[in-house]
């Protein structure tokens, strides 16, 4: 294992000089820096992260707390894990992935043992115990998902605007009877931000467009969802468009549509809200993608900015946030069929 001392010896300088060359925090003569750089290259020297961390009390690591619902899986969680990792690297940070299968223990352990400088929390709930713990430890954090209650920075898609946009565009394509499959009932009951704001957006767009928008709450049980959807689709007069926010059950949903004897988009136009970007299987549907990349960059940024409270006092307006405006993607929304 080659250390800073080896490099110093080879370059004929003191260890501290090597350190200064590396950090750039002191003026070094051109000759010296070249000699040091040469020694570094020849020896293939890499600084030991643990030594730096011990000295500086900075890990340059973010802890990312992903949810882990037993028996269910949300593709979005894994996607964020990967994208946040990418985003953090862009800021010079690595990501330590944690699941909450451990309850709040994992986060506490990571914070207390100095494994990370800040945390990013996914899928934050109303009175999330993870938020409590981090607050009590004074550990910096940022949230992936809007939360106006917790005193923490957050980023999110503007779900209100997103659903409103989807409904508005659908109406603009000529649809007068629109079905909105909202978040599942348990999500609304848990007062999830996306669920509530999505419903608000549907209401707002309904008023604005004058279209008849029927809201059908989704359900975590695929069979219940299929039943509800079928009833709503076969009601007379039948809706000509389906705007979907609850996407976890998408294959089952498409199955229910097909079972109802409807072709997409000939008999029924389907518009997705909050889909995963770059999912090739849904490229054929008009949609509003969840801005995963932008959210990931933002949340990494917010978490890192929360690390050093020294720069200036907390501005009086509370923790910062980053609300992202929706954009339509995919093919144009098909007009209703003339039948």
């Amino acid at each position: 294992m080659t250390t800073i001392k080896d490099v110093a010896e080879r370059a004929g300088v003191a260890p501290s000089t090597v350190s200064y060359v590396l950090s750039g925090s002191r003026k070094i003569s051109e000759d010296t820096r070249r000699a040091v750089q040469a020694a570094i290259d020849e020896l293939g020297y890499h600084p030991r992260a643990s030594a730096r961390t011990l000295r500086s009390a900075r890990t340059r690591v973010l802890a990312l707390a992903a949810p882990r619902v037993p028996g269910a899986y949300r593709a979005i969680d894994g996607r964020f894990a990967i994208d946040v990792t990418d985003a953090a690297r862009g800021h010079g940070y690595d990501v330590l992935l944690m699941t909450d299968s451990d309850g709040v223990g994992g986060l506490r352990r990571v914070a207390c043992s100095g494994l990370a400088d800040a945390a990013v929390l996914m899928a934050v709930e109303d009175r999330d115990p993870r938020v409590e713990v981090l607050g009590e430890l004074g550990f910096p954090a940022a949230l992936l998902g809007r939360d106006d209650h917790a005193q923490l920075p957050w980023t999110d898609l503007d779900w209100d605007a997103a659903v409103a946009l989807a409904v508005r565009e659908t109406a603009a394509a000529g649809h007068r009877r629109i079905l909105f499959l909202s978040s599942a009932e348990h999500e609304v009951a848990a007062r999830r931000g996306y669920a509530l704001h999505g419903l608000d957006g549907a209401r707002r767009a309904t008023a604005e467009t004058g279209a008849e928008v029927r809201v059908v709450p989704s359900h975590r049980d695929p069979d219940v969802l299929a039943r509800r959807l079928r009833e709503a689709l076969t009601a007379r007069p039948a809706p000509t468009a389906l705007v979907v926010q609850h996407l976890i059950l998408l294959p089952r949903l498409l199955d229910a549509v097909a079972t109802a004897g409807l072709r997409v988009p000939d008999d029924l136009t389907v518009v997705l809200v909050g889909s995963l970007p770059d999912e090739l299987g849904i490229r054929h549907l008009p949609r509003i993608d969840l801005p995963v990349a932008e959210m990931s960059t933002a949340v990494a940024r917010l978490a890192i900015d929360a690390i050093d409270p020294g720069s200036d006092a907390r501005p009086p307006s509370g923790p910062p946030h980053h609300l992202i405006q929706p954009r339509m993607a995919g093919p144009a929304i098909a007009p209703p069929s003339l039948g």
Copy 2:
């Protein structure tokens, strides 16, 4: 920040005694250990990971290298990230997530700077540069996905057995004309293990069952897939069952089936091979789930076991591996309709 010294002072012992109480690597009198434990609890002491690592040259962290294909997203990658993290915790390890957006640089950095003790590689390719680098650095690693070429431990689903099982069970349900949608052409061309072994399994089962199994290679372009599928489904005599290994485009695939005027499972039985477990949207389809949990546990285990080459010499039989047998899940496979 409370250190081992603070604890020692409060308990009236030497710092090393506290360390020994913590590690259990020395006999301690019951009185002393109680005093120390009390001091630890009262002060809320947690050992600093960086100090331990600096001392012991062990991080108790695994690096997990996830692929990052620009413009495409595979839900499976995020899922493994989360499950491997859980599995690693079960062995007392944390997981540092890396993407290969950086090429091979991230892995090299993590290995050289001592941020992790071993690596887990996902989606390994034929002559994967990450494997080369780790070999050259002598960094311990294990692979998520079969690879008989690289001299590294791996785990995988037995894809040959899985496809064979799916076809066999489909035939046993009475189907005589079966369509097998294999991996995409570029996956076969890249000699991906799952792609090749899946094809082998289809061939084997065809011979065994005597059913007419038509293999249609999938394609990364959803439009090409849809076209191929449509042609194959409308050929006469029409197949009555569809076994699918290429699942990334599933929504589009179901759309193509519906567009062909076919109902599932009345007109066409659909069987999935390698689906994500706990995906609620596909619960209604017979399938063979990818054993994500078992693979994750196994690969964490293999990586950790590769860390300490001291225990005994490499057994002559090459690196260990863990091949998992497939199991059917979901509803029974529907027999062909009498029409």
